[in-house]
Amino acid sequence: MQQAIPYKAWSLPLSNNHATGVTPKSTTELSVGALRDAVSENAVIVLARRGCCMSHVVKRLLNGHGVNPMMFEFEEIDESEILKELELIMTENDGKDKRRVQFPAVFIGGRMFGGLDQVMASHITGELIPLLKQAGALWL
């Protein structure tokens, strides 16, 4: 089972906050390598294309619950590689999950949760909070 250790997340080299304007010179290998770590070590992580405004929406929604998700932004050229890696991670975790990854993609507790649709739906039905607590993203 994945352990969520929030404090370690901040030290990831390729994690970037778009607001700081620091652009990682991410080659494909570097992205993919860091990706696995990022997914496994963060309670909540949002993967999105750089400059995607929908990722902003997901972030705000999660913020509203008191969660500060790790934001993993990639360039468009890296997208296919990242997609492959994510699908690999998904098969390793739970081979039964045949869903296609849509960006922005949210992973909770190392597992693929879904896209903005799923986040929105579970937010309204109230299912999101227990899930976040279970993953250790919330302590209330």
Binding site: G51, H56, V57, R60, G64, L116, M120, G126
Partner: protein
């Protein structure tokens, strides 16, 4: 009233009647049709004013009935009276009919004006889009939008029918099962609308976003191409009384979740606006506008607008479905009815506003 004036009245009323028929009505007593005809032509003016004179024995006129005055007097009198009465009633009926025509005519003029007003209002926006500087295409050019407009017209008709059904069902005594069917129809109907809007957004997202397909009053409340779920909850929940404590709490939480989701979407839209204007300011409109392929172009950003509309509709759908979960069937039916009537009234308000008398000050 003597026969001449009576005949004048009758011939005026029944233009198709030949004088012969009138003779027939009075029976076989009067065989001299020639005399009757003569008296019809010659005498009418003189005799109209003298309605109260006795039926035929005025000295001024060589009344045709003098010849046989004594015998048929009562019969004649009765018939004349009946005719008078018939004529009077006929005049009254005619008057009423003409008045009705006048009223209908006025109403027709009013409706035509109303139609023209609302068309003008719609036309103002669509007309503004025809100018080259506008990104959106008017319905006459964009087939996807033309299709949507037609579908939406049909959707509205069906919606009105569903609302009527709900009204009937809730005012009478219907079983929960029947209400269940109605609620499901109502919900599916909204799903249908969201599907239509998704297709229309692909055709022209600005058309959907600027609410060109709804009336002006509805447009006032527009939020990302439709209604704002949390606002609707505020309006409708009080109308679904009585709610249990549990339900009130759940509805409150739902409203809060809605607001959070709306804020998140609104902020996302703001961010989109920001990056869009940056692209425009930098001249990065789209591929082909410069030699170097550009990233982060305005055209790319606009593509994201479609997902915003879809997400907003998704939120509306989720909210409606969650409400159905919180409420009992009867409450859900009342909620759907209140929702439908609310928008009907907004549309009516738009009409009222569009056809208000131009020179009257608004108090």
């Amino acid at each position: 009233m003597n026969s001449a004036s009576m005949q004048f009245v009758m011939s005026r009323r029944m233009e198709i009647y030949e004088p012969m028929h009138q003779i027939g009505m009075w029976g076989e007593d009067y065989k001299s049709s020639d005399i009757l005809n003569t008296s019809t032509i010659i005498e009418p003016v003189r005799k109209l004013g003298s309605e109260n004179t006795s039926q035929g024995h005025s000295g001024t006129l060589d009344f045709k009935y003098d010849q046989e005055a004594s015998k048929p007097t009562d019969k004649v009198q009765r018939r004349l009276a009946q005719n008078r009465e018939a004529a009077r009633k006929s005049r009254l009926r005619k008057k009423a009919y003409v008045q009705q025509l006048e009223t209908s005519r006025l109403k027709l003029i009013q409706l035509e004006q109303e139609l023209q007003h609302t068309r003008q209002q719609q036309g103002l926006y669509i007309g503004g889009g025809v100018e080259g500087s506008h990104i959106g295409l008017p319905a006459s050019v964009n087939s996807g939008i033309a299709a949507f407009e037609m579908q939406y017209g049909q959707w509205l008709e069906e919606q009105n029918r569903l609302i009527c059904e709900l009204q009937t069902a809730l005012s009478g005594h219907v079983t929960d099962i029947e209400l269940q069917i109605l609620v499901e129809s109502g919900m599916n109907h909204y799903l249908e609308l969201f599907r239509m809007k998704a297709a229309a957004s692909k055709a022209d997202v600005f058309y959907v976003l600027s609410g060109m397909w709804i009336t002006s009053a509805e447009r006032f409340f527009l939020w990302i191409g439709g209604f704002r779920p949390s606002e609707l909850l505020k309006v409708l929940v009080p109308l679904i009384d009585p709610l249990t404590e549990q339900q009130i709490m759940e509805a409150f939480h739902l409203k809060q979740s809605c607001q959070q989701a709306e804020d998140a979407l609104s902020q996302g839209m703001e961010k989109l606006q920001q990056t869009l204007s940056e692209s425009v300011a930098d001249g990065r409109l789209g591929e082909g506008s410069q030699h170097v392929p550009q990233t982060g172009t305005a055209m790319e950003k606009l593509g994201a607008l479609v997902s915003f509309v879809n997400q907003a509709d998704h939120l509306r759908q989720e909210t409606l479905q969650q409400m159905c979960i919180i409420l009992t069937i009867r409450q859900a039916a009342r909620g759907l009815l209140a929702l439908g009537e609310y928008f009907q009234r907004l549309k009516a308000l738009s009409s009222l506003w569009a056809t208000r008398p131009p020179c009257q000050p608004i108090s």
